[in-house]
């Protein structure tokens, strides 16, 4: 995807900055307030797992497909995990068609790092015949509506899709692999929840909306596992942070990641009980 020029009127920029001085935001939120999150699980029956995540008006869908494949030579006894993100022109007037650009690739790689570092999926359990045959999980993330913070929406969509993924059972006889009709849950063992901050002037806000992203100086994404340990960090944007600002984001992010985790857990329970 290429991006056409994004323009924000100076008067709007000044309004956002003036509001931030009073510790409030263009959409009425507090600086440390995340938007409403909703998740729809298993929206795509033909995928092994899927989820649509809404953060305010930002909407992202992730689908998981599993295929039998060969393991990487340096990890012969582990399944394969591949994350791909596409910021398609459907999601924003500023997105242009074309192959994934650096923004798409950055999101995919940061989501991948979080899921991999936190060991969300027990990849060893996806090994069928060591060195020969393993499950390859493709997580494909598509932006549907861009109103800021596609990073967290993508990360949450990927994580939620994995939570409800079911892959076929298999049997192995004389090195022939038989895929069975019956399905089982993915071996999920940990969490990876990203929380993104934007720095605008001297102020730091969580979960930036589109207009805030247009004027932000820098961005910081920190992902957390269920113990509150950091599993991925990515600084973005043309600006900079002090060490104190980073530690502030880490502390606040840890707290917010626990709240998001709890919300996701409840929404998954609701989805599974109906």
């Amino acid at each position: 995807m290429a991006k056409s020029e994004e323009i924000i009127p100076i008067i709007k920029k000044k309004t956002i900055e003036a509001l931030l001085e009073k510790n409030t935001r263009i959409d009425g939120r507090k600086l440390d307030e995340y938007r409403e999150i909703s998740v729809e699980f298993n929206v795509i029956e033909k995928a092994e797992g899927s989820a649509i995540v809404n953060i305010g008006n930002t909407m992202v869908i992730a689908g998981v497909k599993s295929v039998l494949g060969k393991p990487f030579s340096d990890t012969p006894d582990e399944g394969v995990l591949i994350v791909n993100t596409e910021l398609i022109p459907l999601a924003s007037p500023t997105f242009e068609p074309g192959p994934p650009g650096e923004d798409d690739i950055e999101i995919a790689r940061v989501v991948d790092r979080g899921i991999r570092s936190a060991k969300v999926v027990d990849l060893k359990k996806l090994c069928i015949v060591p060195g020969k045959s393993v499950w390859a999980l493709y997580i494909d993330i598509y932006a549907l509506n861009h109103d800021g913070n596609l990073m967290d929406a993508s990360g949450l969509a990927a994580y939620c899709a994995l939570l409800c993924t079911k892959i076929p059972k298999h049997s192995v006889e004389n090195e022939t692999i038989k895929i069975l009709e019956e399905k089982e849950d993915l071996p999920i063992q940990h969490e990876a929840i990203p929380v993104t901050f934007a720095k605008i002037g001297e102020k730091i806000v969580v979960d930036p909306c589109y207009e805030e992203e247009l004027i932000m100086d820098a961005r910081l994404t920190i992902s957390f596992n269920e113990e509150g340990k950091i599993c991925a960090i990515q600084k973005g944007g043309r600006g900079m942070f002090t060490a104190d600002e980073i530690m502030y984001c880490a502390e606040l992010g840890r707290k917010i990641s626990r709240e998001i985790s709890e919300k996701i857990r409840r929404m998954l329970e609701n989805a599974q009980s109906t």
Partner: protein, 243 residues
């Protein structure tokens, strides 16, 4: 994966004999490429990286230029022979991401608004890679930008810190990166005390992140000194040659 090697021996020394807070030997040469407006060559441990800066110059295609500032473009590329198994010369997804984060690490240091409608191009060629190449690239690129005479708020210096066998260590080499528990590249404008690049993978606690940032800063201050020495040795010289 092969068996994890011991990264810290009983005396607390690392696989290459360094202490936890010790950098690899660093050598920076300035102005090594005649065609470029600015250039630098860095050897950091086994990393060997060449950086050229062209610009400010007219930007092609024209429509990409900005009316109020220069466009900073950055290409991080690894030579096929830079790693044990030949790497395809086509840019990988990793190289696309690193080009972006390196650009954003350098951009805060530049007064781009002084050169509207132009481009400043930073070309990074990793000739040999042994862990921490994005950081060594940033260190060298900042020196090459200064060599090109581009006005800067400060140099940018970078180093990766990480966690090996449970301990926070400075300037990971490839083996430590591969088998360690976490890798945290950090770039700073040392004089201004601002962080311009921060990434992490692996698992660390918030307390460990704090420790890592402090250790990174101490390494960055040493690298900053090397950068300034390298620039001075080109522009000030020993004095004797001029005599």
């Amino acid at each position: 994966m092969k068996e994890k090697p011991v990264l810290l021996n009983e005396e607390g020394l690392r696989v290459d004999g360094r202490k936890l807070d010790e950098l690899r030997p660093i050598e920076i040469k300035v102005g090594v490429l005649k065609n470029a407006d600015g250039s630098a060559y860095i050897v950091q441990g086994k990393n060997k990286i060449m950086v050229a800066v062209y610009g400010p110059r007219e930007l092609h295609p024209r429509h990409l230029s900005l009316p109020d500032r220069a466009v900073l473009r950055c290409r991080y590329h690894m030579a096929p022979f830079s790693v044990p198994e030949r790497k395809s010369p086509a840019p990988s997804r990793r190289e696309v991401e690193l080009s972006k984060v390196i650009r954003q690490a350098l951009e805060p240091a530049l007064f781009l608004e002084m050169f509207p409608r132009t481009s400043i191009d930073v070309f990074i060629e990793v000739l040999q890679a042994d862990g921490g190449t994005r950081c060594a690239s940033i260190t060298a690129a900042a020196v090459a930008l200064a060599d090109a005479g581009i006005p800067m708020r400060d140099l940018v210096a970078a180093v990766a810190v990480g966690k090996i066998d449970g301990k926070i260590a400075l300037d990971l080499n490839h083996l430590e990166d591969q088998y360690g528990e976490a890798d945290i590249p950090v770039a700073m404008m040392p004089g201004l005390n601002q962080i311009t690049l921060l990434q992490a993978d692996g698992l660390i606690t918030i307390e460990e992140l704090k420790e890592a940032l402090e250790l990174a800063k101490s390494g960055i201050m040493q690298i900053y000194k090397k950068q300034k020495e390298a620039l001075k040795s080109k522009y000030i010289g020993s004095g004797e040659e001029l005599g």
